[in-house]
Amino acid sequence: MITRENYEVYFIDYLEGNLSDDKIALIENFLDKNPDLKTELTEFSSTPIIEIGEHESIDFSYLKKKERSELTALENLFIGKIEGDLTVSELDELNSHLTKFPEQEKVLASFEMTKLTPQTIIFSDKQSLKRSKSIGFYYYLTSGVAACILALLYFNLTTTGEQITPYVAEKNSYEIELAPIKTQEGDNKIKAESEQLLVEKRIRREKANTFIENPTETGNERANEPILVKKEKEIIPKMEETLEIEMKEKVEPELIAINPPVKEIIENPELERTETKAIKTYAKEKAISFLEEKITGKEDKSQTLFAFAEQKAKEIPVPKFIKIEEQKSNKQQVKTIKIGNLFSIKRKTRI
């Protein structure tokens, strides 16, 4: 029985003439019912059949792989000479060979030419690979940056960037907190080193021309519990302010030079270019005076921070990427300064 599943065998027998008349009739009948296979039978018949005689064989040498040509003894000597590998006796052997066959000098020369001459190729991006700090100083750097920010904030933040008006007499409470630092590198070490720096300063202050004392207070009470009254004699509640400084990711201490006119500078890049030097000088002075005057009893750290502040004030350009955000609720006011993705400084004022 011929089917579409087994017809190939019958086709081959048919083409080779091995079928009986009955089978041939069957095939012809099958082809009538399956005309599409007639083409296939024709193709079968046109396929050349390779007949191999008993003593004939097919040449499969083309399948062979190219064998590696091994070095001759002389080639070993040539190469050994240019590589400086030859012993004295080998060198003698080579020299005597060359004396006998001077034409071989040319071959030796061709081996000598295989020495590559180093080309000068410059890797142009070296500076981007360099690092500017080590983790060991990280704590001091971050502390220094924080201190400088604090110095500048202390002098500038509450002035809303309009005017440089340092506070004079003090009578208020500041709690300044350095948030835990996270960086990509040396996380563990930094974690250990970055214990929160809590500098609590009780600063008594009052703005001489802005506030007047509450006439009901006694002198002693005034010293300890300042209640300030505006000129209009309206009593304002005591304020608690918290500054949180958070450093994110890599700390490239390109900060510092936050300055009262920073808002103007952001809005006017041209001003930034022209004012940069003055701003840096100002930042430097303020940072230094803060460090010298306010961090008392921490002379060693102060020295480090002093040096850092001075250095950074000289080097660091004014950041272009400063955002100032303000949020206000019934209970507190939060002012955030974001400097790129590097720092965010929050000043929380609880009313």
Partner: protein, 162 residues
């Protein structure tokens, strides 16, 4: 090694490292990536690296990083096998260095690497062995075979060019 030594290693070796990698990869952007990866690795492990051995460390790291990249690209299909020399000789060569550059491309990857380390960087068999994880004797064999192949190429070019 400290930061200063790290930065100094960039000045001293970044060019050579880049040359070694770009000669192999034939792609300047990928070669730059490899060099950056290598220095990144060095920076992360700098505390464990002896500054005096930095060059060897750099080339070893570059060699293996480069192989990883090439393997990913499936370029190394026949790493150990000889390549066919029957390349077109119709290109116009302006000098021996150009011919050698072309000849270099006919070498198996490993031979090319050892020759570049030998001729460009002046490394000994032992140092090349450390970089490539080969025995000294293997390094020597590869260098000898490479020289033979390069010489054969030069002679064939000379014959073609008359």
């Amino acid at each position: 090694m400290n930061v200063k030594e790290y930065n100094s290693s960039i000045d001293l070796y970044a060019d050579n490292l880049y040359r070694f990698v770009v000669k192999n990869m034939k792609n300047s952007e990928k070669a730059q990536d490899v060099v950056q990866d290598v220095f990144e690795k060095v920076w992360k492990k700098r505390k464990d690296i002896d500054a005096e051995k930095i060059k060897s460390y750099l080339f070893t790291a570059a060699y293996h990083t480069m192989l990883d990249v090439l393997k990913k690209e499936k370029r190394i299909t026949n790493f150990e096998s000889e390549r066919d020399f029957e390349k077109s000789h119709t290109e116009a060569y302006s000098g021996i260095n150009e011919i050698l550059e072309a000849a270099l491309e006919t070498l198996p990857e490993i031979q090319k690497n050892v020759i570049l380390l030998r001729d460009y960087e002046g490394y000994s068999y032992e140092e090349i062995g450390e970089i490539t994880n080969l025995k000294n004797s293997q390094v020597k064999v590869y260098i000898y075979r490479a020289r033979k192949s390069l010489q054969k190429y030069l002679v064939s070019i000379e014959t073609v060019l008359g």
